[in-house]
Symmetry: C2
């Protein structure tokens, strides 16, 4: 429950809300090297890192996966596609160390959010804020590419 | 009110919820060529297109703004940074036709959402879904760049 409060998604939830959330959470162990989330698959679960390290990758083409982030901090999470239609993962995730991961089932979480709209609103606001930050970062990277192109056309 | 229901943010709201939303909405007219949203400015308002056309741009460097989208459909909206901390616009928006725009004040909307968590949850879920779609698109564009780089290193 203490760990869940460290995840950006659950920031601002009350103790009773965190308790109800912890009741639908289970813990799994995943070995180093193992993938637990694949781009294009149905997103049925949300994952919160407890111990270990997780790498996120996007497939650029066959045989070339581009690493975009490594999570090492307890509370880091992946699989937020389980919160948003069409519920399809958009990334690959694998453990780069033996890891312990908290798993929250999509359907159970949805029921919790429908039964407590304040909790739902907090989680969705946290998610939107996080996605907006990621979108700004990704646009920033794109800018760098366009800047290079723009400069080369100015020579 | 009918127009608000066409905006992706307000999809799924009930008639009474849309009515309350319309009560905090005002209409303004903006001339062709005029900017009404600047990157880096405090996001105090959300904008929904009623009539006309709006171009969104990101500043790549001094004298070079990259157009990233044009909105022409009634209900298209911009300024969602007004819904998310730190409430700073991340884009420039200008009208490319004389336009009529609905304006929703950030503070009034926040109060409405705090008074009706179901409404808040719906709006935030719609926003998160939209941002995830934009993030996927932007990553897709980045992939294209990396693919080009990857291929050139394989030659």
């Amino acid at each position: 429950m203490h760990l869940l409060s460290q995840c950006y998604l659950f920031k601002g939830l009350s103790e009773p809300q965190l308790l109800r959330l912890s009741e639908i959470t289970k813990e799994i162990q995943i070995q180093k090297g193992q993938f637990f989330m694949r781009e294009g698959q149905q997103a049925e679960e949300l994952f919160v890192l407890k111990e270990g390290a997780v790498e996120l990758l996007i497939k650029v083409e066959e045989g070339f996966d581009l690493p975009i982030a490594i999570f090492r901090n307890p509370g880091d999470c992946t699989g937020t596609s389980a919160l948003v239609e069409p519920y399809i993962f958009s990334l690959n995730s694998r453990c780069v160390k033996d890891s312990k991961i908290l798993v929250i089932n999509k359907t159970a979480l949805k029921e919790l959010m429908q039964g407590d709209h304040e909790l739902g609103c907090t989680i969705m606001r946290n998610l939107a804020q996080h996605l907006l930050d990621r979108l700004k970062e990704t646009r920033q990277e794109l800018k760098v590419h366009f800047k290079t192109i723009f400069r080369s056309t100015q020579l």
